[in-house]
Structure formats: C-alpha cells, structure tokens
Symmetry: C2
Subunit: 424 residues, 2 copies
C-alpha cells in the first residue's frame, strides 16, 4: 500500500489540477482519492511540491531498435529503411533485441511511461524484458510476407500469444501487427484480420506514413491506404494505426466512425521528412489519438515528455492557429486515450483505475512560477522533472533511479553488443 | 588553470569529434589543445566518458519574462502581446526583472549556454544579473516610440552603454534594439541607427515575425520589412534580426549580401502560430543563422538543447527532405555562429579562443550506443546530459549545480514576486 499525501494531481477527465489531495494505492489499484485519508499500513509519500499525473502510454515504438540510434540520420524513410536499417536488422540476435529493449524501457520509465505499444520481432524476449521491468506492454509481432516467411511468422505469433498474452500479472498483451500495406499482400492481411478476430479483436499497423505509401497504394489498389484497409474488413476491428500522416479528409471521416486510434509520432514524422499529420482536423472530428515516440532509430530518443511538447506546438504553425492542439489535448493523447487504446484500465487518476502514476517535482524551474500547471506539463517541462513512477501499484522509479532494472549494466551491455553487431 | 584530460570534443569548424585530447585553460582562454599536456598548477578534470562542446549562444531571448511563463498560452502573437503580456509587463518592477532574469540565466546555464543575446528593459539590473552569474550577455534595451517615451528610452540607453558596455571583465556588451518596425516610427529607427553607428555598429531588432507584420509593412511602406529596413540604411550595420519567419526570396537574397544574422526561434514561432522560418533556404544562401529560445512567456522554457532538436527536425518536414538542416548545421547556429553574431571570441574549441565549454556525460542514455555523437547532440540529447559549464575560464556549473547563483533562493523569490505582480 502506498499513500500519496497532500499531493496535486491532474484529473484528465475534468481537465483540471486538483490540489492538496490524498491518493491511496492498494495492491495494483487506486483505492481511494480524498482529503485526510489515513492508513497505518501504507508507505507514505509526501506529496507537497509534487504533481501526480496518470503515467503515460507510449502509443507506438520499436523498443528493440536502440542499437540503431544515431546510426543513419538525415535520410528519407525509404532509404533509411532499405539501405540502412533493414541490413543491420537482419543481423540482430534475440539477445541484441532483449538488451536493446531493456534500455528503451529504462528510457521510457524515465519519461513517465508505464505502458508501451511495441511492434517488433523476438517478441518473446521483449515480453520478458517488459515483465522484468514491472511496466506494461501491448506487444505486437511485426508481420510481413512480401519477401516470404509469412507463415512462419504466423506460427511464431500463435506461440507468442499462447505463452505471453496476459502474462506478468496481466501486464502483457499480444496483438497481431501487419507491418504495413506495402510489406503485406492482401491475402496475408486478410489472414491476420482473421487471427486478430480470434484473439481479442485488435490489430496494429503502420498506416499512411509517407506520400510514397499513399501513391503506391493508389496505383496498386486504386484506393488510399485507409480506404483499402476498410475494403478488406480491417477497420471493423479495433485498429491501432501508427503515423497517419497523409490521411485524406475522406479517410478522416471514415475512421471517425470506426474504432481506429491513430498514433501521432511527431519527432519521427518530422525527422524522416514524412510530413505533418492532420492532428487538428482529427481532434475536431472527435477521433481519439494516441502519441508515441517511434523507435530510437528514427526519433532518436524515447522521451514522451519532449514528444508532447513538439507534438503540440508544431500543429499551431501548420494551421497558423496558436489555439490548435492545446496542452490538454496532447496530455489526453498520452494518458486517457492511451488507456483506451491499450485496453489497460489506466491513463486516469480515478478510484478503481490501475495505479500507474508519474510524479513530477513542482520545485523544478519549468514549474516556476506556477502560473498554469497544465501548460507547464506540455510547454515547459522535461522528463527529468519526473521523480517517481508507480506502475501496477509498485514503485518502479524512485527519485529518478529505476528500481526494477540495472541501468548501468544495461548501458554497458548495449554498447558491447552494438559493437559486435556492427562488426558482424 | 583547468586541464580537461583525455576528453572528446566537438571541433565545429572541422565538423568532427576529436577523441582523447587534452585541453588546457589558462585565465579565460583555451591555451593549448593536444595530447599528453602536463600542468602542475591546473585543476584536472577527468574527461573520459565526457564530450566537450563549445558552450552555446542563446541568440535571442527576453530573460526578464520568466514570470509570464505559462501565463497565457494557446494565443496568437497579437492577442498574446497586447491583451496578456503587455498589461502585466506594465506592472513589472526593476526588482521583478532582476530576479526573473536570474532564474532565466540559471535555466540557460543548465542547458549549456554561456552567452545570451537579450532584449528587454531595466537592462542595468539584467547587466548586474549577468555579471553575477559569471556568464556573458549582449544586452539590448528594447526601444519603441509609438506610444511615446522614445527619447527617455534613448537617454536610458546612453546611460546603460556608459555604465555597462564591456563590464564584467568584458562579459557584457550593450547594443541598441528597436523592438520592431511596428513599434518604432521611421524617424526613431533612423535615430537608433545613428546611435548604433556611434556605439559598435551593431543593432538588434525583431524582424518579419508574423504575416501581420509583413502585410502591415507592405501597406504602410509599400515594401516588405527587410526591404524597408534596407531603405532606411539599417542593413549597412551588423544586424541581429530575431525570427525572420516570413522573409521573401528577395529578402533572403538581400540579407545574404549583408552582415545580417537571422535568429531562428523555432519553439516560439511554432507555439505562437507564427509559421516556419525558411531556414533551409537561408542556409543554402550561405546566411549565418543563430538560434535562440525567445522568452519564457512564449517558449515556455530556456532549453537551447531542445531548441536545437526541434529546430532541426521541423525543417525536414517543411521541405519533405530529411537532409534539410542536418545536425551539424544546427550545432553551428548555437556555437560558431553564436560567437560571430555576438562578437565574443567563443563558440569554438580552439587555441586562443575564450574558454566557454559545456561538458556532456557520454554515459547518458541518449549517447548509448555511441554511433554518431554529432547526431546524438542534436537528435537524442537533452540538457540534463550536460554536467559542467565553463565560462570565461571559470566553472559556472559543476555536476549540474550552478556554482555562481543560488538556484533555490531564486526560485523562491520568483514565486513570491510573481504572486505580488499578478495581484498588483
């Protein structure tokens, strides 16, 4: 049991900060929120000069790509993927992916993230890493069949689902993930839709990331990417659709009527020169959007706090409207929408929600003076202002030290393994 | 004397990282760079797992605006300035500006900044703050005459120049700064040009920040803003021109032939919905650009490291070209161009340059693995990776603790004074 005493917290549903409250955590749940809560058994955390926010959901990443961080910058997605990333990826071992994921998880924890939506391979090892770390993951095996091997990947996925879905006290979920429309045949996509239906009705895909993807799709299928996916029945599932940079108005209208969560990856979309996702339009169409960092090879970090900042302000310049995508909308993407898209009962500080909470130091420079804490979270914070992270009712980071994983050992391992990888 | 032993450093002129070098600092200069430098008298700093970069220049800010941080967000420049900021500014005291500037300086130091280019008022108190902090400043009194008071401001400026130019062991310079073309009459601008000539031939102004500024200027002067300034002779001075968001191709061509330094303020331009400055075009026209945070009321932080990251990647999406504004170009803006635009002999790690050096921890997550340190500085770093800052040969920050100023006391003061200010 943990008792956060006299703390301010972000009530994301009411869109306001509540001051000087007590929050009691029992087992893995937020048991009670109120004034003057007493408990003899609870570990008490002094909440004065602290701000509790729902721990963040990183809605799209590739934890296992850390070894390619800063390896191939200033390149377009096509060149970056085909010439630089995929040749190195071909040489990655299970062990590499395990340690790379461990480092990414540390980085996510240090930016207040309790939950990642991760697409990659060797996902059994990624599952182990997530379980060890005490955090949550919706872990999706990236699937493709254009260069063969499609069926083997399906076998792997079935095994993964059997062994890891709901593992780690329910902290791990397994979801099928066709990598993209340009790496999967229509037949294969249909197979994966069927498998997703037989699992939990959820599917994950990269969608409409680049102009090239859209024009190739138009050529091949005579439809834009979301329309094509709808035509083969995918949009009748719950779809977690990463990027969505080049959605047309017609597609925005379509997905606003479906259970589709676009995931906004501003840093990656900017850095790869993919373009500006129509976030303002999507919000105004009442689409629930998530936000993610993407992998460290295209971001090049896993800092969701910086992602929120960039994600907000860029849209104001795109629309020439400083009211576009205000702080509170970005905070929703990382919190309550995160809970909705993963299906974990988190992303809110509310009684009976999962106890996933990030605690900021209000004595930080970015919170000085304390004019508007919601603005501060988006516009003047950085991840180093987050002192503690509670996930599933347990303290995973205390005073910026990750308690569940050995950060120093992981960094040494990643350096050693990267050197071996690049010399293989 | 300080000896940095076995350190990696960024040679910004050769655009590469040099490894395992010794750097000897004597008085306020970099005395010697080489291998196996010995000194009995020097304080030795172990440079293994460290990266030295030229300390950054924040090319445009308003240190004194910290109390308006997070006070008025999600508003356009015009509303923000006229309805929110100026009414509060009217009530600011000298004391407020002094303490607000102190906090901004702490924040600048903590993101590796040795030198600020600051435009505001009560600049005698800002000068005192800069001198106390051990950092450098080109301090410019924001001048306007549209609501009267123009001559009084000139008297103040003359006094300021007399008392503070070259103060603090040469760490302070005073430069005249007409606030903008929309707050100064043509006659007043001409007066200030004459004064700038009688000082050191340098002038500072906000230029072409919003579309409104451009269209108003076209209406009034039948010219775009830079053409108008050229027509009255200002561009024959050395001009530090903040923002330059809406420069036309004709203006870019003009300033490429002049001694004009546009200052890029990406966060502020994005957040206020001002637009995207044509950075890629300016670089390709061989214009030397600086980079700045702008004030904490529009940014809302003073984090130059984040500014570099945002400043680079945004341009790749604007141009749909991931090669646009690569890491090294952004690093030049913050370092060698910074030295050129302030006229301080810093911004480079080179023998006989001023000893202004920021030291990064290479054991940080964003530098793991160490694939490309120049990429890492721009794309995966954050300011918390900067451990130490040396300015003018003295250690101003050690292991993230600012030695010259009392951070805790300053934060308390700023909170107290802000409360009084907003209740006045």
């Amino acid at each position: 049991m943990i008792l956060l005493k006299n703390i301010s917290y972000l009530d994301i549903e009411e869109e306001k900060i509540k001051e000087n409250m007590d929050i009691l955590i029992e087992d893995n749940l937020i048991k009670k929120i109120g004034k003057d809560i007493k408990s003899n058994r609870a570990e008490v955390i002094d909440g004065r000069e602290r701000l509790a926010v729902p721990a963040y959901t990183n809605g799209h990443t590739h934890l296992g790509m850390t070894m390619m961080r800063n390896l191939a910058d200033d390149l377009d997605l096509d060149t970056w993927l085909n010439k630089k990333i995929w040749p190195v990826e071909d040489k990655l071992t299970d062990e590499d992916i395990y340690w790379a994921s461990m480092l990414s998880i540390v980085e996510n924890i240090k930016s207040g993230v309790s939950t990642v939506y991760d697409m990659y391979y060797s996902m059994d090892r990624v599952s182990e890493a997530v379980i060890e770390s005490g955090t949550r993951g919706v872990l999706t095996r990236g699937m493709m069949d254009i260069s063969g091997g499609g069926d083997e990947r399906i076998d792997e996925l079935m095994e993964l689902y059997k062994n890891y879905n709901n593992a780690g006290n329910g902290r791990v979920k397994i979801v099928p993930a066709p990598h993209s429309i340009y790496t999967c045949s229509t037949e294969y996509l249909k197979k994966l839709i069927n498998i997703a239906e037989s699992f939990d009705g959820v599917i994950n895909i990269h969608l409409s990331e680049t102009k090239k993807e859209v024009s190739d799709c138009l050529k091949e299928h005579l439809m834009t990417p979301a329309m094509y996916l709808d035509s083969i029945g995918m949009l009748d599932l719950k779809v977690i659709a990463a990027h969505c940079v080049h959605l047309t108005d017609e597609e925005i209208n379509l997905i606003s009527k479906k259970d589709v969560f676009p995931i906004y990856n501003p840093s990656s979309n900017l850095k790869l020169g993919s373009g500006f996702a129509p976030i303002d339009k999507m919000i105004k169409s009442n689409i629930k959007i998530g936000i993610g960092t993407d992998g460290s090879s295209s971001n090049n970090n896993q800092d969701l706090v910086e992602e929120m900042h960039i994600g907000s302000i860029v849209n104001k310049a795109v629309t020439l409207d400083p009211n576009a995508v205000p702080a509170i909308e970005i905070l929703k993407m990382a919190t309550v929408n995160g809970g909705a898209l993963t299906g974990f009962n988190n992303g809110v500080i509310r009684e009976n929600a999962l106890a996933d909470i990030a605690i900021y130091d209000l004595n930080s420079i970015g919170f000085t003076p304390k004019n508007n804490l919601i603005s501060a979270l988006c516009y003047s914070s950085n991840s180093n202002y987050i002192l503690d992270l509670i996930v599933d009712g347990k303290i995973v980071m205390k005073n910026r030290e990750v308690l569940t994983l050995d950060e120093e050992k992981i960094k040494v391992k990643v350096r050693e393994l990267t050197e071996k990888l690049l010399n293989r």
